[in-house]
Symmetry: C2
C-alpha cells in the first residue's frame, strides 16, 4: 500500500514511517520538497539502526498524495485547508485520515469545537464527492511511537462513516504491534476523540506524566 504522510516530517510522521516501512511504501510530504527528502533520509537511517528494511521517500505534499492509497494529514489544524486546496487536483479515491485537533493553549489546552462539529467533519466537507475521512491517531504519543518503545501501548480510537475506509485504517493500526484500534462509531462523533488530545496534554502537565496515551481496559 502507498501511504502518504502529509506534513510528516515530525515525530508522528517518523513513527508511522518506521512502523509501516517494511510492508508499505511511505511517502513523506511537506510544503518544501527538500525538507521532506531530508526527513525521509533521516527516517531511513533510523530504520537501518533498528535493523528494519524500507525505502521511505520525500515529496512535496501534492506529489506525495498523488499516487497514494492512504493520505494521513499530520498537519496543524490552521494549515489543513491550505494543504487540502493544494492537493485537491490529485484527490480521487484515496482514504483520508485525520488526526487533526483544533485546539489552543492558554492557561490550559482547550479544544475549540469547529462550526461543523469537528475538524474531521470540516475536512470531509472540503473533499471531492465520494471521498471519505476516517478520524484516528489523535492520542498516539508520537515520541514513544517513533522510539519503538517496547513498553508503549496505546488505543487508537477510530471513527468514520464509510465501512471500507475505516477497515483499511483499522488494519493498518493492527499492523503496529503497540497500537490497538477501537471503532468508536460514525464521523459525527469525531469531536469526542479529537478533544482527547488537549485532555491528555492537560493531564500530562497537571499530573507530571510524560507522553501519556490512553488505554481502554
Amino acid at each position: 500500500m502507498r501511504i502518504a504522510v502529509l506534513g510528516g516530517t515530525g515525530e508522528i510522521g517518523e513513527g508511522f514511517a518506521l512502523h509501516w516501512a517494511e510492508k508499505h511504501h511511505i511517502r513523506i510530504g511537506s510544503r518544501k520538497v527538500d525538507k521532506a527528502e531530508a526527513a525521509a533520509e533521516r527516517f531511513n537511517e533510523t530504520l537501518a539502526i533498528f535493523g528494519r528494511k524500507g525505502d521511505i521517500q520525500g515529496f512535496d505534499n501534492r506529489t506525495a498524495a498523488e499516487e497514494a492509497d492512504v493520505i494521513i494529514l499530520t498537519i496543524p489544524y490552521e494549515h489543513v485547508s491550505g494543504v487540502i486546496d493544494f492537493v485537491r487536483p490529485v484527490l480521487s479515491d484515496q482514504n483520508i485520515v485525520s488526526p487533526v485537533v483544533p485546539m489552543t493553549r492558554g492557561e490550559y489546552f482547550e479544544y475549540n469545537t469547529p462550526a461543523r462539529g469537528s475538524a474531521a467533519q470540516e475536512i470531509q466537507a472540503m473533499l471531492p464527492e465520494g471521498m471519505n475521512v476516517v478520524a484516528a491517531f489523535h492520542t498516539v504519543a508520537s515520541r514513544r511511537l517513533c522510539s519503538l518503545d517496547p513498553a508503549f501501548q496505546c488505543d487508537v480510537m477510530i471513527c468514520g462513516d464509510d465501512r471500507r475506509s475505516k477497515e483499511v485504517i483499522i488494519d493498518l493500526t493492527n499492523e503496529i504491534e503497540c497500537l490497538r484500534p477501537l471503532d468508536v462509531g460514525p464521523l459525527a462523533l469525531a469531536s469526542t476523540i479529537e478533544s482527547l488530545t488537549p485532555l491528555l496534554l492537560n493531564i500530562a502537565v497537571l499530573n507530571h506524566l510524560k507522553d501519556p496515551s490512553i488505554k481502554v481496559l
Copy 2:
C-alpha cells in the same frame, strides 16, 4: 467524613459505599426513603460478605445531604435540577461532586452539550453562592467497582475550580485502591470528561468490551 450519595441505590452508589464505609459515614439518598433504607441494608450485607466493617444508612435525598461533608450526585441528568431544588434548603458548605452525564442513545450514545458547556457547569450555576462543584467519576465501571474486582483499574478524571474541594475528592479517590485520580483542570473543561461516558459505551458495543474503563499510560 460524612458522604451522601444521592440517587445512590444503584451500582455506582453501592461501589462507593462498599469502598468508603470502613472509614466514612455513608448516607445513601433516594427520592423514597424506604428504597434508600433497603439499599443501605443490602449494601451492609454485602460489606459483611466481604468481611468489611461499616454502617451504611439510608435517607431521603434531603436528609442524606443535610449533615454531609460531601454530596455525590449519582443522578440521571434529567433529574438533577429537581433533586437540587429539593435539597437546596440544606445546602451550605458541602462539597458537591458531579458524575452526571447528559447523553442520549439513538443508533449510538451521544453527548448532548448543555447550554452552559457541561452538566457540571449547569449544576454549579444552580448552587448557592460559595459552593463548589467538582466533576469526577464519569468513567468508573460501576459493576466492577462494586464487585471489588481485584483486576479492576480505572483513572478518575477530576476537574473543578476550587483547589480545596478538588483535593477532598482526590483524597477520597486515592482511598479506593483500584482508582487513580487525575487532575484535568478547571470546571470549564468538564465537557471533555463527561463525553467520555458515551464514548466508552460506544466502544463497548462496537468492540465487544464489557464494562470498559479508561487508563492513562
